[in-house]
């Protein structure tokens, strides 16, 4: 893969890269379809319901039926909306979500583009999605959508900061921003995984990342009890599906990134278990993180806007800073 990327761009190479990208996109769409299906199933079980079980065996085709429905729906653009912005906003929201996936190493031999600044790239690009949300909220010319878009922007600014600072602890431990190098740094026994030495960073990262994902308990931009549907209140049909797709792609990306940064990536918990292919370990940890998101969604109520800001600036940021400081000191002592 690396060779392919670094080789000269020829016609054959271009087709190959295109096919790889298409495969990744299909994988992603398959993941999103079934992530939604399993989310509905899990939350259904938690809430004493059954969940989808009508379309296909065990309801397995439910998501496809939903996608089909969204595709054939009328494309409504409100008369007073800003047409251009309204149309490009969902694309701007989705595109970065897909772009960030390029750097994620799923297994030892399966990185797509192993950048030296992979982590920085991920964080920088993922911030762009908020722009799409804000744009959509503004372009809809709807007061609820505007409030939702504004909340989303405020939330992103407040939580990106502790998110990045919490990750600095991990970077200090590894000494690299390269995602594959971070995974390599966690090889060996389970206590080498960053989740143990960097437990504080892990918790902050988890909270900040869930907030970035706009999921319960931080789903303020689309809080249905106040803002009806928030920034995508005027969207319907496939434009709405794009926002949904972006949201679930970030679930994918977030779970993958957490696995890489804190749960040892493709490494087995014990060296004796290394005979199991790395990709399976990765999928196991990845699925756990996805399940974790469903779990808190079914359990927790929503925070209020001012409480959200307070939590971000007054609690998470100072703790993250202290964590970086302590990590640096401890590493300095150990290395000397």
């Amino acid at each position: 893969m690396i060779d392919l990327i670094q080789s000269q761009l020829t016609f054959t190479n271009l087709i190959l890269l295109f096919i790889i990208a298409a495969v990744l996109l299909m994988t992603l769409l398959g993941f999103v379809s079934y992530a939604i299906y399993f989310e509905r199933k899990f939350i259904g079980w938690i809430q004493l319901r059954i969940g989808p079980n009508r379309t296909g065996p065990l309801g397995l085709f439910q998501s496809f039926a939903d996608i089909l429905k969204l595709l054939i729906k009328e494309d409504v653009i409100p008369t007073k909306a800003d047409k251009t912005l309204f149309i490009i906003a969902p694309v701007i929201a989705f595109a970065p979500a897909f772009i960030v996936l390029a750097t994620i190493p799923y297994a030892e031999n399966l990185p797509f583009a192993d950048l030296n600044v992979g982590l920085l790239y991920y964080i920088a690009i993922s911030g762009l999605t908020t722009l799409g949300m804000l744009m959509g909220g503004w372009a809809s010319n709807n007061k609820y959508a505007l409030l939702g878009g504004m909340r989303s922007a405020a939330q992103m600014i407040s939580y990106e900061v502790p998110l990045v600072i919490s990750v600095i602890g991990v970077i200090l431990m590894t000494g690299s921003l390269k995602l594959s190098a971070i995974v390599e740094g966690q090889a060996g026994y389970i206590w080498n995984w960053n989740i143990f030495p960097q437990a504080v960073a892990f918790i902050i990262f988890l909270i900040a990342a869930v907030s970035e994902l706009n999921r319960t308990p931080f789903d303020l931009p689309e809080a249905e009890s106040e803002l009806v549907a928030g920034y995508h209140v005027e969207y319907s049909g496939f434009r709405f599906a794009f926002f949904m797709l972006a949201e679930y792609t970030y679930v994918f990306a977030f779970s993958a990134l957490t696995t890489i940064l804190f749960l040892g990536g493709w490494h087995a918990p014990l060296p004796a278990l290394e005979f199991v292919p790395g990709i399976l370990w990765f999928l196991l940890k990845f699925s756990f993180m996805v399940f974790f998101l469903y779990w808190i969604r079914a359990t927790l109520p929503r925070l209020r806007v001012d409480q959200l800001m307070g939590l971000g600036w007054k609690v998470l940021l100072p703790i993250a800073l202290v964590n970086v400081f302590i990590t640096a000191i401890v590493l300095e002592i150990i290395r000397n």
Partner: protein
């Protein structure tokens, strides 16, 4: 400096958390409410006027449709006033049946409130848990009178249907289950940090304000005022049972939550005693004249519905239809404090406060 201006936001009548067709026009600065103007009347059906052309039995189904979350207590509010006017004797068994359905209804109504309130705050699961227990109660009612929401169960002088075989046993079996599930709700919700942060200190008022606004029910008791018509002006056979009036001193949304949850517990206590003392047999209808025609005069009788004091004031001119019939609708009265509570709060708190008052739009609009 950026130029900022206030935004006029029209919430409702179609909005997920106005609990029906309530509308409120907000003037907001950012997310802070500067001015709030509630607009009601979207569900007004003129029940009081309609009642003037109906005889007393025909009015009962209209009461079902006022507070549709707690139809049994509304049925009782009307028949109680008529009975008081005519000074009728109600058979023991009928009184017990009435009391049992009313207390079950109170539990069901508070469960609906609990579920939807948590939904307003953003937690979805408690809603479905609460509806599981409500479903059991609704099934019991269905077995008793064939309806799930608008029961039309009570009549002047008694009740329409006797309890079917084994019904009391089913109620008896439901009570320990409800007790267990109530503990589960407390475990699930009451200690949740986010929930506490969302409700503590929100929508606060003191006892004097509550009395001045004429609040009743949990909205009044949440300020520490011990006022429950079941104890203070006993009607039906409530004086035979032991129960406590739930109060809480703080007067915020958290207090209202605590009071309502405690009321579920007290209702279970009343029911436990009632099913034990339930008379094995007896009449379910008293001796009532064929045409109900109260003598000329006026009467007012209030009872404690899950939402507060629901009263029926009847003016009779000696005819089969009332000359004038006035409902004191607790949701309507309780809602009046909303405007005062909202100023200075943010939009999220608006939902919390409105939900905490526990209104049913059918009753607000009459």
């Amino acid at each position: 400096m950026l130029r900022t201006e206030e935004l006029l936001l029209n919430v409702g009548p179609q909005h997920p958390s106005t609990h029906g067709v309530f509308r409120i026009v907000l003037k907001i600065d950012g997310e802070i409410i500067k001015e709030a103007t509630p607009v009601i009347g979207y569900l007004h059906r003129g029940t009081e006027k309609l009642a003037e052309n109906l005889n007393y039995t025909q009015i009962i189904p209209y009461t079902d449709r006022m507070d549709y979350v707690s139809a049994m207590t509304n049925n009782y509010a009307l028949v109680n006033s008529v009975e008081k006017m005519m000074q009728l004797e109600i058979p023991e068994r009928a009184e017990f049946l009435r009391l049992i359905v009313m207390e079950l209804q109170r539990i069901a109504s508070h469960l609906v409130w609990f579920g939807t309130y948590l939904l307003d705050i953003g937690a979805m699961s408690p809603f479905l848990y609460a509806f599981r227990d409500r479903e059991t109660i609704i099934n019991l009612f269905n077995e008793l009178c064939g309806a799930r929401l608008t029961y039309f169960y009570m009549r002047v002088g008694g009740v329409k249907w006797d309890a079917p075989e084994g019904w009391i046993e089913k109620v008896k079996n439901f009570l320990p289950e409800m007790r267990r599930n109530l503990d589960e709700y407390h475990e699930l919700v009451s200690g949740n940090e986010i929930f506490l942060a969302r409700v503590k200190g929100i929508g606060k008022y003191d006892a004097q304000t509550a009395i001045n606004f004429g609040l009743s029910g949990a909205n009044l008791r949440s300020t520490g005022v011990k006022w429950d018509l079941r104890k203070d002006q006993p009607y039906s056979i409530y004086d035979r049972f032991e129960f406590d009036v739930a109060t809480h001193p703080d007067g915020d949304c958290w207090s209202r939550y605590v009071v309502r949850m405690e009321e579920i517990k007290q209702s279970i206590r009343i029911l436990e005693q009632a099913v034990e003392q339930f008379p094995a047999e007896g009449e379910i209808m008293g001796k009532v004249p064929r045409v109900i025609r109260p003598a000329e005069g006026e009467v007012y009788a209030g009872i404690e519905s899950p939402r507060g004091e629901i009263g029926v004031h009847i003016v009779s001119k000696g005819k089969a239809e009332p000359y004038r019939l006035k409902f004191r609708r607790p949701s309507f009265t309780n809602l009046q404090i909303l405007e005062k509570l909202l100023v200075g709060e943010n939009i999220t708190n608006m939902v919390t406060i409105l939900g905490g008052i526990d209104i049913v739009l059918g009753e607000v609009d009459g």
